[in-house]
Structures are given as C-alpha cells and as structure tokens.
C-alpha cells in the first residue's frame, strides 16, 4: 500500500497511543489489582429474602477489623437504609436483588456495581475519609428508580450491637 509519509506517521502514532492505553490497563489491573467486581455466585431470587446474610441485611464487624456488609437492593430501597462502617478497613459488600436489576453507586467514590437478581454482587473497598456518603440506585428499575437511595457513614469507631467479631467471613 502506497501510503505517503503523513499517513504512515499518523498510523504509527495512533498505534502508539493505543499501545499506551493498553499498557496502562494491563499495568493497573495486574500491578494494582484494579479490577471490576466480577464475583460469580448465584442465589435464588425467590428465596433471597430468607437466605443467609440477606434475611436481615446488616453490617458485620470481623475480628481482624474488617467488615462485611449485606445489602438487599429492592424496589425501591436499599436495606439497611443506613450503613455504618469503620474507616480505613477493608469493607466487603455483598448484595443481591429479589426483583429487578438495580445499580449500587456510592456517590463520588469508585464503589459502583450492578445488582442483578439471581446473582450475588461482591466487592471489597476501603474508605479513608470519614463522613456521610450518599448511595443511589443507578440502573433504571421502575417508577420509583429516583427515590431509591441510602446512606453510608464512615466513622473512626463503629459500635455494633451484638455481632462484633462474629466474623461472618467472606
């Protein structure tokens, strides 16, 4: 192909830019293990409301200081409606839906995942800044989509009644 000098220059630089993009994605996903939540676990949506963890969705503090949060995303609320978690600790979210698809987004963080009936969404993150965060549903789920939200509070000391150190694992 007789592409003149300019074409060749442009093609190589386009290729170069794309190579940089690819390299940065490989680097961040391998070296910093920055990966999208891709947990594979199924659950029956018909009985999700009585399944372990989701019967009374809540925050469990583990012995090592980390926490596990079970969340039920349903038309049109997140249960529990308020979540308190410790600052600077690994927080594992486990979520499912008994009805349609919802989105779980902790505003202004990269905590963002789809919640799909029949599946458990799980990811682990950390919050270094204490304060109140807004959680919104970001996938259209019906007439009440825009009223579906809850609150996340990150604190230095989280006192939990009862199940401190129960270590739900996971």
């Amino acid at each position: 192909m007789n592409v003149d000098l300019y074409e060749r220059f442009w093609m190589w630089s386009s290729g170069g830019i794309i190579a940089v993009f690819i390299a940065s994605i490989i680097y961040t996903s391998a070296a910093q293990s920055l990966q999208p939540p891709s947990h594979v676990e199924t659950i029956d949506p018909q009985t999700a409301r009585t399944s372990p963890g989701f019967a009374q969705p809540s925050v469990t503090l583990n012995a090592d200081g980390s926490a596990t949060v079970h969340i039920m995303a349903q038309m049109f609320a997140f249960l529990p409606t308020e979540i308190r978690v410790p600052r600077g600790q690994p927080i594992t979210f486990r979520m499912t839906s008994p009805d349609v698809i919802h989105g779980f987004q902790i505003v202004k963080t990269n905590g963002n995942a789809m919640v799909v009936p029949g599946y458990v969404t799980q990811f682990t993150t950390r919050f270094d800044t204490p304060g109140e965060y807004l959680i919104v549903c970001n996938e259209y789920c019906g007439l009440g989509h825009h009223i579906m939200f809850s609150t996340l509070i990150v604190e230095d000391d989280v006192e939990m009644a009862g199940d401190v150190g129960a270590g739900a694992g996971q």
Partner: protein
C-alpha cells in the same frame, strides 16, 4: 438519478419523522431534568418519554436513514437497479409495522423499560415483537444490497468495489454479525417470556446477548456517517478524498473488530469472570484505531480542499471551507464533537476508570456526542444533500438550514459538558428527579442539570429548524430540481493497491471467528452454570 428513488425516500421520511417525534420528547425530558414544576410532569410520563426517545432516536431514526442511504449508495455506485426491489419494499413495511407496534406499546405506557429493555422488567409482548420486526426488516435490506452487489461482481470480475459501497457493506456485515445476539435474546428469552410461555429468564444471559448486539450497534450508526465523511463531504468542501486505500482499511477493520467487545458494557456485572471482561476491553482499545485514522484522513481531505482553493499557510485553509453550506458545516461540526466524544470513550472503556462513570449522567453526555451528534448531525447534513435530489425539489428555508448545525453544536456543548460534569459528581442517569431525601450531595448537581436543560432547549430549536426545512422542502419545495448524486474522488485512486481489502468474505470470516472466540466460551460456560431465572416485573 437512481431507479429506487421512491423506496429510498420512503425510508428517509420514516427516519426523519421518528427524529421529529423523538425531539419533542427530548424537550420534555430536558426541562424535566431541570426540575421545573411543569403540569404534565410525572415519573410515569418521564420514563415513558425516555423510552420513546431512546427507541425512536437510537433504533428507528438511525436504521431507516441508513437503509435509505444504503439503497442510494448501492444503485448509484454500481450503476444498476436493486435486485429484488419488491423484497426491499417488504422489508420497509415489515420494519415500519414493527416500529408502529413498539411505538403503540410504549406510548400507551405498556413498555416503559427504556431502549435497553433489561429483564426482569417486562413490557407488553408487542414491544418485543415490534422491535424484532424492525430488525427482520433491516435483514431484508441487507439481503437486497448483498444480492445486488454479488450480481454486479459477477458481471464485473476484478473491478474494485466502489469506496462508498465498501462502507455500506461494512455496515451490513457488522449488522449481520451483531443482530444474532439480540435476535436470540428476543426469540429464546423475551418474547416467549412476555407471552407467558416461559416462566423465567436469566438476566445476565439477557444482558450478554443484548450487548453482543449493543456495542456493534454503535458502529452500525457510525460507519454510514463515515461513508459521508469520506466520500461525500470532501467533494462538498471542494476537494478530494485524501487516501482511498486508507478509507478501505478503516471500513474493513470495523468488520473485523466491531463485535467481540460487548462485555465492556458489563464491566460492573456480577456473574461474568474478570478474564473475559479483560479480553473484550483489549479488543475495545483496538477499535479506536480506525477512528483515529479517520480523523486524520478526513481532516487532510479538508486541507486539500482549502489548498485547491488557494490556501498556502498553516491554517488559512480552514477559512476557505464552505462554513455557510449546511451540507459541510453539519459534518465538520459533527466531527469536532466526535473528537471530544472519543476522549470520553477511552475513559469509559478503561477497566478501572469505568467505575467512576458507569451509569452516571456522564454516559448520557457521552452518547449524545457520538450517536446523538457525530451520527445524527451528519445524517442531517446528508438529508440537506439528498432530500432535494430525491424529491426533485429545491431546499426550502435555506437560512434555517444554514444556522441549524451551529445551534445544534452550541446546544450540544452545553448539554453534554454539563452532563459529563454532573456525572463526575456522581449524578445517576435516567432519573426523574434527584432530591434523595434532601441530600446536600445531590443538591450540588442542580447547577449542571440547569445548564443541560438550557442546552436541551437549544437542541430542540435546532431540531425544529431541521424539521421545518425538511417538511418545507418535501411539501412545498420548488419543483424541477435536477442534480445528480456525485461522490468525492480520491487524490489517488486505489488502482491496484491493497486489493486484499476487497476480499469481503475473508474479513467477514475473521470477524465471525473473533465473535466466536469472544462469546462462545463465556456463553456456554454461563449456560452450564446453575443459575436461577427471574419472573417478570411491571412497575411502571
């Protein structure tokens, strides 16, 4: 003049009509997002309207314009009538009937599930059946053009495929690689499920099949726009196409790379292993390449035009371009907007950064730049060129046509930039309002949504100008306009260069192999897994 003039026109008019209706819905939505207290404003109305707007713009307007343009390109470049024009008419009516069925379901409030129709939200069966018929009609369109091309090929052994047709064939092959995904979703999942013949569907499988179709869909929108950029606009600008072989390369790369990328829309889905998401993301990066090359070639063609008109300096060729001609300005502005959209797209596709923007207002800011402008504004320019030729009537209201692309451009900058920013501030997309219990975080978004509403008003005014010009031309334009359809000539014809790019079946085969590699294993793995289906929900 082409033999299937009326057929092409029929397709154009349906596309233009869909655009007009969807623009009215767009105005209501844009105002609604600014939280104005309007009497008709209810959540039910809003979500119905967004569904109608999304379907009419993204699926109906685009598909019909592309079908009409496809017929024009085929007959004009091959200089022969379509083989099987009756079949083409059948395709038109099937697609139109399907559109009507889906539209009735939506407008009666029985299908407010948005144009992505993710189950377990369940619409009336007429919505799914109608949408399927639209696709079936488009398949007949593909068949007619392919048959005509093959007949020509038999009669002209060894002739180069005309460049505009190479682009159209690429769009057709991308469409044929993409639509089996959504067809499977409709036929095996959504239609039987909505009819009550099947109790449950697996929502992750449905999303996978949808995005198998959903991402190449954007190239189906884009490739015909590229055909305009490469083979129409350089001539309008008064110049020549910079490089014919490079344009062929771009179209062929789309055939190969468009489809094995769908998981990049599902990066945040559960139930899909990270490895597959990674593979699709890599392919996504590769498909940036043809667009980078296009940016260069087309801008270089404009420079050629400016220089042919006597420009000698670094940038004075820009002044020599026909900015007052809407056939040119609409495309040039569409390209400018697309360049901005390209940066955003690279962020969306980045594995890690995607989580910052997924399903936020950023996304609607993004796709109104790409399909909503790069494609839509280009198609408006295409209409300014072809509608007078096809109707044999002079363009009416030329002044409106001249300002319309600029109003769109300004409106889109306001609309899109503000949506990108509110998206970064965490505002979700597709929400009727954003009070969230009086949350102070949500209140920060109000400034942005206000600006986006203002942009929406500009866009609506521009759309109204376009509709006025089209209807004015079609109904009252002065008769007797006679002009032939001419495409841009290349600086250097392809000649014998890169003949391998004409071997369409080779590229289609590679495309099929890549689709298999990208989807066969994950879908089979998924079907083998013990999953629980979902029953339908209707809360709208």
């Amino acid at each position: 003049m082409i033999a299937s003039r009326r057929l092409a026109l029929a397709n154009f008019w349906v596309g233009i009509g869909a655009f007009g209706i969807a623009s009215v819905m767009a105005l209501m939505q844009a105002l609604s997002r600014a939280d104005l207290d309007l009497p008709w404003r209810t959540p039910g109305m809003y979500y119905m309207s967004v569904t109608a707007h999304g379907v009419l713009m993204a699926l109906v307007f685009t598909t019909f314009i592309i079908m009409g343009f496809g017929y024009v390109v085929t007959e004009r470049t091959l200089e022969r009538a379509l083989v099987g024009r009756q079949v083409a008419w059948v395709g038109f009516w099937v697609a139109l009937a399907g559109t009507a069925a889906a539209a009735v379901a939506i407008l009666t409030g029985n299908a407010s599930i948005l144009y992505t129709f993710y189950p377990p939200l369940m619409a009336h069966p007429a919505f799914y059946i109608g949408a399927t018929l639209l696709v079936v009609g488009s398949w007949l369109w593909c068949g007619v053009i392919l048959r005509t091309w093959l007949a020509w090929k038999k009669d002209n052994p060894g002739a180069r495929i005309p460049l505009p047709l190479v682009g159209m064939l690429a769009a057709i092959f991308v469409w044929l690689l993409a639509t089996p995904g959504v067809a499977a979703e409709m036929l095996f999942q959504l239609i039987p499920w909505s009819l009550g013949l099947k109790e449950t569907v697996d929502p992750v499988l449905a999303r996978t099949l949808f995005w198998w179709f959903g991402h190449p869909l954007v190239y189906f929108w884009l490739i015909p726009a590229y055909v305009v950029w490469y083979t129409v606009t350089p001539r309008v600008a008064g110049g020549k196409l910079f490089s014919d072989p490079l344009a062929r390369l771009v179209f062929v790369l789309f055939i190969v790379l468009s489809t094995p990328v769908g998981f990049h829309h599902q990066l945040l889905d559960p139930g899909i292993p990270a490895g597959w998401k990674f593979f699709h993301t890599m392919n996504t990066e590769l498909i940036l390449f043809p667009s980078f090359v296009t940016a260069f070639t087309v801008v270089a063609s404009f420079e050629v035009a400016g220089r042919m008109k006597g420009a000698t300096g670094w940038f004075d060729w820009l002044e020599k371009l026909p900015w007052g001609n809407p056939q040119f300005s609409s495309v040039a502005l569409a390209m400018l907007i697309f360049a901005i959209g390209g940066f955003g797209g690279a962020i969306n596709a980045a594995f890690g950064m995607n989580a910052m923007v997924h399903n936020t207002a950023w996304i609607q800011g993004h796709f109104h730049l790409t399909v909503g402008t790069a494609t839509a504004l280009t198609f408006m320019g295409l209409c300014y060129w072809l509608i007078p030729i096809l109707t044999k009537r002079e363009l009416e209201l030329g002044l409106l046509a001249r300002v319309q692309p600029y109003i769109w451009f300004m409106g889109m900058l306001l609309f899109s930039v503000s949506n990108h920013l509110t998206g970064l501030q965490g505002m979700p997309r597709r929400v009727y309002e954003f009070d969230y219990g009086g949350s102070p975080i949500a209140q920060e978004w109000a400034a942005g949504t206000g600006i986006s509403a203002l942009g929406g008003v500009f866009l609506f005014v521009s759309a109204a100008c376009f509709m006025a010009v089209m209807l004015g031309t079609g109904l009252a334009g002065k008769k007797g306009y006679e002009e032939d359809i001419e495409f841009a000539e290349p600086l250097e014809p392809a000649g014998d260069k890169a003949r391998i790019l004409d071997k369409m079946w080779l590229w289609v085969t590679i495309g099929v192999v890549l689709v298999m590699a990208a989807y066969a294993v994950p879908i089979i793995q998924h079907i083998m897994m013990d999953t629980f289906g979902s029953t339908g929900f209707r809360l709208f």
